[in-house]
Each structure stands twice: as structure tokens, then as C-alpha cells.
């Protein structure tokens, strides 16, 4: 029998495979003479194996999208998706600053709403390939879908006689829930967006409010359950013409 001192730490290092080989031999010799201890060490070893069997499959699971979100995956700012995020932030800042005067123009909530509408306009209207989620060819589906998500019956105005055709629409996150964006375009490719949110009960109707900074103009108003913001890179007169038409169609 070995006279070598074997400690508890040796057992663990043995189980974890970090014991030098010479020491392993000594531990094995020690355990060979002590079946109870050998059984205990064997059980520890099986624990290691069982832990791997139980949890190793996690390694092969696809990593959820949320764990690949911008913070950890800041690979390069030049990748398109990060560029888009940066664009959002920059545009948000620029427009927030540009439209800052709107805060004084009306209730703070409405100004924030107009600012969001303007940001959404600036982000999506230049899109060439994916300006909308659902195209105008599926107009019924688009309206039903967005109505369902907003929890209010929407109507999509037709602006053909003003020279604007519907491109389609998309669902966006607003301050208090889903928001709908409809996009229109004229023959020259100028785009208008109509941003619609469902208001909380008791929202008061407002008159048209207008803000224009640089090239982006926004008309916004509240009409019963719904709030609207119409944005475009055009002058006030043209935007008012369209906004009036929109308002009339929604309130026949």
C-alpha cells in the first residue's frame, strides 16, 4: 500500500483531468485499495459526463436573435445593418433638434408624435428595394392587418387625383404601441408618408399643425381615435393640399 499522502484536492484534480500523470498513478493506487472512496470519485466523474450530456446540446442551438443585437455584435459600423442603426440615431438627433421648435408648438405628446413620423419618413422613404412591408397590390390585407394591430379600423386614403399612388405600408413601433405607415409616390418619385397611431381614449381633436425644417415638412392632427402625421420633402402648400384631401377622405 502506498504511503503517499492523497488529499481531497487530488481527487478533484483527478476527476477534472488536471492531475499530472505520475500523481494520477498514485491516486489510482490509493483508490484501488479503498472501494468506497473509489466509488465516490467515480460518481464525481459521472457527474462531469452527465453535465456535458445535459447541457452540451445548448452549444448547438441557434443563438437567439436578441443575443445578436447591436450591443454585443458591434462588428463594424460599416456593415449595412449597423449603418442603418447609426442612421436612425443620427437622423433622430438631427430631426429631434430640427423639429425642437415643435415642442413649443403644441402639447408635448403631439410634437413627439410628429417627430417620430418625420424620422420614420426619413428612414423609409429613400428605400429603393424595401420601402414597404406590404405592397399596394394587397391593399385589403394591408388595411386589415394594420387595423388589427392598431386596434382601430383604418382607412387608406386614395390620392390618385392629386398624382400620388399608394406604394404600400408597414407596421412600426410607436411610443405606446404599434403605428402604421402608409407610403405614396408621385410620377417623379417624390414620396409622402402617412403615419397613423391609435390614441388613448379621451384624446382631444386638434387642428392641423405644421412643422418644416430643411426639406421635411410634417402636417399632423388628431381625429377621434386616430392621430395622423403626413410627411414629405415638399413645401407647405403642397403638403396642405394633400393633408386636406386626406382629411376629407377620412371624414366623408
Amino acid at each position: 500500500m502506498s504511503m503517499v499522502l492523497i488529499t481531497e484536492a487530488d481527487f478533484h484534480a483527478y476527476v477534472d483531468g488536471v492531475l499530472p500523470e505520475a500523481r494520477c498513478v498514485e491516486v489510482e493506487a490509493y483508490l484501488a485499495a479503498r472501494p468506497q472512496e473509489a466509488e465516490r470519485v467515480q460518481a464525481y466523474r459521472q457527474q462531469n459526463e452527465a453535465l456535458h450530456r445535459l447541457f452540451d446540446p445548448v452549444l448547438d442551438e441557434p443563438v437567439p436573435e436578441r443575443l445578436q443585437a447591436p450591443p454585443p455584435v458591434r462588428r463594424s459600423l460599416f456593415q449595412p445593418r449597423y449603418a442603418a442603426v447609426v442612421a436612425w440615431i443620427v437622423l433622430g438627433g438631427v430631426i429631434g433638434w430640427q423639429l425642437g421648435s415643435m415642442k413649443q408648438a403644441g402639447p408635448a405628446g403631439n410634437a413627439a408624435f410628429a417627430r417620430r413620423a418625420a424620422i420614420a419618413h426619413v428612414v423609409y422613404s429613400p428605400e429603393v428595394r424595401h420601402p414597404v412591408e406590404v405592397g399596394a397590390d394587397q391593399e385589403t390585407h394591408l388595411v386589415n392587418w394594420l387595423s388589427k394591430r392598431l386596434g382601430a379600423q383604418l382607412k387608406v386614403p386614395h390620392l390618385g387625383n392629386l398624382g400620388y399612388t399608394l406604394v404600400g405600408g408597414r407596421l412600426l413601433p410607436g411610443d405606446n404601441g404599434p403605428v402604421a405607415q402608409f407610403m405614396y409616390q408621385d410620377a417623379k418619385g417624390l414620396r409622402l408618408t402617412l403615419y397613423v397611431r391609435a390614441n388613448e381614449k379621451g384624446a382631444r381633436e386638434t387642428a392641423f399643425r405644421f412643422a418644416q425644417e430643411n426639406n421635411i415638412g410634417v402636417f399632423y392632427w388628431i381625429d377621434g381615435r386616430l392621430g395622423y402625421a403626413l410627411s414629405a420633402e415638399t413645401d407647405k402648400a403642397e403638403l396642405l393640399r394633400v393633408a386636406t384631401a386626406v382629411y376629407r377622405q377620412l371624414n366623408p
Partner: protein
């Protein structure tokens, strides 16, 4: 700074594995990973280039986990997890039952023992790395490891849990 993502990505699956074993629940585990990644991102300047990023990430996860545990009024129960039950069976049915027992048994270990056991046995960190990651002396690592393994063995074998261990010298 922009290098963080590239460097962290290869570690995410293992962070998830550890978090899953630690929390026993898929959603809670991914929350833990997410919080860890966010904190790592914010504190990336504190990471010493060239040092072991993985150990550093485990340190952060440990801190996040401890804060979460402290923030909880009640000790969480561990639900029988559907995902775990649907894992591919590696061997016989009996073995799967044992595996689920292991999951439940793990949950019965004190957090500090479970952390040490999982970092050593599952994540295969060295004892020194484990001590560093958890901010405890290596002697504490060894004693917690010893207690965790023995307690787990007793739970799995249906033996009364011993509180003191014979130190073989």
C-alpha cells in the same frame, strides 16, 4: 471597441450553456446572457487586451447573476423544462431520467456551489480561473467544489446529504 463583437461572438454558445445550467431555465438563461453581453459592452474598456476574454465574461456573468439573485425576494422554483425534455436522447430512457434528475439536483445546490461546480466541471475552467472569475480564494473554490460534488452525489443517489466531509490525508 468595434472589436468586441467579433471577439465575444465565439463565446456566446458557451455563455448560454453555462447560464442554462446555472438558472435551469431557457428564458432566464438567455436574459442572463443578454445582460452579461450588455454589461461587457459597456465595460469593454476595463478588459485587459490579451487576458482571457472568456474568463472575464464569466466574471461579468457571475456579477450579473449575483445581483439578480440578491434582487429576488424568493428563491425561484425550477420548472420541468420542455426543451430539456425534448433534447435528443443520447442513450437509454433510464439515462434521460437520470439527466433530468441531475437538472433538478443542480437546482438544489446553493448558488455559490453550483457556480463553482459548473465552471469547473462543465466549462472546464481551471481552479485558478474559477477563483479569479468568482473573486474568491482558490481554497474556497476547492471546498465549494468538494461540497457541491458530494451534495450532488447524495441527492442523485437518494442518500442523506452530508454536511461535513472527511478530509483524506
Amino acid at each position: 471597441m468595434e472589436k468586441l463583437g467579433t471577439q465575444v461572438i465565439p463565446h456566446i454558445p458557451r455563455l448560454r450553456r453555462y447560464a442554462r445550467a446555472l438558472t435551469g431555465e431557457r428564458a432566464a438563461a438567455d436574459d442572463l446572457v443578454q445582460d452579461t453581453l450588455e454589461r461587457a459592452c459597456n465595460k469593454f474598456h476595463l478588459w485587459r487586451r490579451g487576458s482571457d476574454l472568456r474568463a472575464w465574461l464569466f466574471t461579468i456573468m457571475h456579477n450579473v447573476f449575483i445581483n439578480q439573485v440578491r434582487g429576488r425576494a424568493v428563491i425561484p422554483t425550477v420548472p420541468l423544462n420542455d426543451e430539456i425534455m425534448e433534447l435528443p436522447a443520447h442513450s437509454a430512457h433510464v439515462d434521460r431520467l437520470e439527466i433530468r434528475d441531475l437538472d433538478a439536483a443542480l437546482a438544489r445546490l446553493p448558488d455559490e456551489q453550483r457556480e463553482v461546480l459548473l465552471l469547473v466541471a462543465l466549462e472546464q475552467l481551471s481552479y485558478e480561473e474559477t477563483a479569479k472569475a468568482l473573486g474568491i480564494p482558490i481554497g474556497t473554490v476547492m471546498s465549494r467544489l468538494s461540497r457541491a460534488r458530494e451534495r450532488l452525489r447524495c441527492i442523485m443517489a437518494g442518500l442523506p446529504e452530508v454536511t461535513t466531509l472527511k478530509v483524506v490525508k
